[in-house]
Symmetry: C2
């Protein structure tokens, strides 16, 4: 089996160039590990004339991306174009229909169309691989699909968006506001000009839904992910959380319970003795809890040219070795339909921050609403200035159902002593 | 492909029973993930009459372990007997010679005979799998072989022995001596009655040599691992290290350099901002540094019934899926011969602790020896009582070759102001 594995590469952005560079730099080693050479034969990208600083000599330039799938000299198409639909999805479908292997880093497309693509790949007996779609260079797809395969998984969760983690850990280190740190991150190129996809949690939610499918043997259900981003987090939240023994992280968490499948991306308080509390900057980390293995942690760089290319090429090596099978760890027909847990069914501790007018009786009104909704308060700090010019009031609760806190806040919504919307964050149960 | 994968299991100790329990508890899920049932058909262990608290009904009991390999109803032999040679090695050889797959948790056997077994497995086209041999439940063999396969790896290192990590982190938390904590660990069953295999670093060295082969594409070279255990670490070392910004961990580290392959298991100072500093108790963690992926960390339980069984069954699932290939990530003929780096070639910072007589001039003598050997001192603390009744003197050096420190200590060996042997530990380069 020394015939090269021939790649058609769609997309020459950061990751695409990373793949070109990696296959060149580590060529001899990859040939040894894969058992055969892995060679790019054709590329397609929007602008042929742009100088990318990398030699594309010897590669066929294909103007029409979708033509990559038809080429007889291409064994595998690598899609690094992006977007849930459009060019990327067309290319995926036509590649698989041609009976060729398909590798992608496209989390949006996998989150929305992964099951349909897996079904098609299964019918054709070809590989569908997407290690790079979740947590960049961290081999967590393989970790769940293969490494933890013997386990019934109860929870999978982690820090899945490097931009958010960079912003939160910088706010923490420098005691600065969200807006100021975001502006810096944009200037430095760590955040997009339109950062909403990252900071509103959608990117992390795509990844979480993929992890949940692999972990629980359920069909992808991106639509059921409960999503909150990090825009409302203040420097004061981070200070108060720290005083209570926590750090604030954007955590994507999926867990199964008798109530159904819970999937959420939310800013979350992480206890200081948990490894996620030490994941800093643009790093990602994923925790898998299995009934025999216990807690596994995978940590590394979640984005960028090198790490993402590393994941793409790892998939190519699997294919070159002939070591691939069901894309979602089992035949699509074996995946269960996910049953979404009712909103508010999650049981756990909660952090809530109010900004209140400085006048007598406010605290009594709030605690009465909590009592009436059967929320049990564990700790309370009333100090410093809150957003909107009020007094900052921070509480943590004992473990209880999330809907109780929602009821309490609903009772309080008409209270004119409250300034702005309370900020609610779950506390990670360890 | 719905015919079951039929297992012959040798060894019904902790891990063997774990495998029996896991395959029973997660039966339906494993069938979905593996694409076919995985069933134990025959077992062999020393004492048939012992009550193991697990039903073995329906399983063929085989008196002669080596007969497992011959049985026509066995597709895969799982070896959980242990020992580098003897029964385990005989069973491995006869299983592979019979053209059957072989799965083991036996780090000593793989460290000593892994290449020969891989060569035999390759010739027969059968699987040789050993995920459970390194770091228990953490899928780090798969992580290196598959997940990081696209990378040239410069270093692989980690906390590879849970017993040592339990002892060190307990000494740290409770400010107690090595001997006292070891005695407790033995009473609690966390350490063996004869703990030397663990605390003298041999177990970690077996694992390190396996990781190094996978990471660097070199033949296993256990004999070249430079091994030091944790017996000489005092509570004072841990306190002083902490004051300097480090924790003490038993670290197995392999790195390539122009000087050759460096493999060492040594008590090591780990900076407080490094994730290994937060690996507590019996947990294990492995770091892989690749030229594209950057730093990957894998953390989890490194031993015990559940985690080790999880790794064994993950290997069985790979085999059931037909997703296996070269045991050491590439054909044996492609592995390079490891060139051992000369002793002392490693370049880095060092910690050294002396116990000295409390009299004038000692410090001058020590610093002169350091100067003469071109060791550059970074910090020094002279305080508290050292072992053997002397004054404790602790130094850290700037980065330099390890042989310089050896020369300095050799110059000092005749100095009668020194009480006992100095304790030298490398500082992890980050």
């Amino acid at each position: 089996m020394t015939a090269p594995l021939r790649i058609g590469l769609a997309g020459l952005g950061t990751v695409g160039l990373g793949v070109v560079k990696l296959l060149h730099a580590n060529q001899a080693l990859i040939t040894r590990r894969a058992g055969r050479p892995i060679e790019i034969v054709a590329v397609s990208a929007r602008d042929r004339s742009r100088d990318r600083g990398v030699s594309l000599a010897g590669l066929q330039w294909v103007e029409d991306t979708s033509a990559l799938a038809q080429r007889p000299d291409v064994d595998v198409v690598v899609e690094l174009v992006g977007g849930a639909d459009g060019v990327a999805l067309d290319l995926a479908q036509s590649t698989i229909n041609q009976g060729k292997a398909f590798v992608t880093a496209n989390k949006a497309m996998i989150a929305h169309h992964g099951i349909a693509l897996a079904r098609a790949a299964e019918a054709k007996g070809v590989a569908l691989k997407y290690e790079a779609a979740v947590a960049g260079g961290i081999p967590v797809i393989k970790g769940l699909r293969d490494g933890a395969a013997a386990n019934e998984v109860s929870r999978v969760y982690g820090i899945l968006n490097g931009t958010c983690n960079y912003i939160l850990t910088t706010m923490e280190a420098e005691a600065r506001s969200f807006a100021a740190v975001l502006a810096d991150a944009q200037a430095l190129g760590y955040a997009e000009a339109d950062p909403s996809f990252d900071i509103d949690g959608v990117d992390a939610a795509h990844k979480l839904s993929i992890l949940a499918s692999l972990a629980f043997g359920t069909e992808l259900d991106f639509a059921s992910v409960d999503i909150a981003g990090i825009r409302s987090i203040t420097a004061a939240d981070i200070v108060q959380a720290r005083a209570l023994g926590f750090k604030v992280r954007l955590v994507g968490l999926a867990e199964t319970s008798p109530a159904g499948l819970y999937q959420a991306v939310k800013p979350t308080l992480v206890p200081l003795d948990h490894p996620l509390a030490y994941v800093a900057g643009a790093m990602n980390a994923v925790v898998v809890e299995g009934n025999f293995v216990g807690r596994l942690l995978f940590e590394g760089r979640g984005a960028g040219e090198g790490p993402t290319a590393s994941a793409v090429v790892a998939d190519l090596i699997d294919i070159a070795r002939g070591e691939f099978g069901a894309a979602f760890a089992m035949p699509v027909g074996q995946l269960a339909r996910a049953q979404k847990a009712p909103l508010g069914a999650r049981f756990g501790q909660t952090y809530v921050r109010f900004s209140v007018r400085d006048r007598p009786g406010v605290l009594a009104e709030i605690t009465a609403a909590m009592r009436d909704a059967t929320v049990s308060i564990e700790s309370m700090i009333q100090s410093g200035e809150g957003p909107d010019g009020g007094v900052l009031l921070v509480m943590t609760t004992h473990a209880g159902p999330e809907h109780a806190m929602s009821e309490a806040l609903s009772k309080l919504s008409s209270l004119d002593s409250l300034l702005g919307k309370p900020m609610v964050m779950p506390i990670l149960t360890v």
